[in-house]
Symmetry: C2
Subunit: 114 residues, 2 copies
Amino acid sequence: MSNQLPVLNSCCTPISEAALGPEQAAEGAAVFKALSDPIRLRLMSIIASAGDEVCVCDITPHFEVSGPTISHHLKVLREAGLVDCERRGTWVYYWPLPERLTWLSTLLSVPAAV
Amino acid sequence: MSNQLPVLNSCCTPISEAALGPEQAAEGAAVFKALSDPIRLRLMSIIASAGDEVCVCDITPHFEVSGPTISHHLKVLREAGLVDCERRGTWVYYWPLPERLTWLSTLLSVPAAV
DNA sequence: TTCGTGATTAGACAAGCATCTAGACAGCGC
DNA sequence: GCGCTGTCTAGATGCTTGTCTAATCACGAA
């Protein structure tokens, strides 16, 4: 169920230190786009803060949209490389992939003193 | 020219530590949306990495889209509270507002050891 | 095998967004 | 004042995206 995760080509240089090239910007923008929906950001925070894997059946009740809509948003997070999932029996479990979060956090970090 | 900057209501708790509420998620998603376009992310990186204010006339040549399109994207960054600008004579200058970047970076940060 | 439950996929539709052209505005120099 | 340059605003257009319902798939139990 782990599908093709985008490779992290650009790494670790904050935008406050060096401007991004077009390819790096496209890569970064794609991940930000995955977090640019309130539902997806909440999904990400629920999964990331769980400290463990989370069952979809425990996620869906937090939201007021239909199951397929949640499923769609989880797929977007998966394709952005932010989470991964596995089916176990009847249920599907999601967990965070912290590398991407760390990467974005570094990208946006601002040196304390310039 | 500095317009109403959104207030930073939610602050400083990484999503890896606590799940976001709907309002916080909406606020964060709005800022991520501003960075979810490759052109805007490059614009932000150009302005943030300049170490000083940047003239629009120095920005536009980096891109292959029309002037009004750049102007539109800069407005989105401005309304997200990521940059601010001022007209001086014929030219308009932009500079970064690091608070927002720091906030996002903290939001996405992952504790070294869980 | 058949049924029931949990989750995803498929397809449709409305709303939102990126981009363009044309026009307006601000400031400088003649 | 008049024209020129740099930037922004207005309005239109085509593409993208979020959401839904209906259908399908995966698995476990009877």
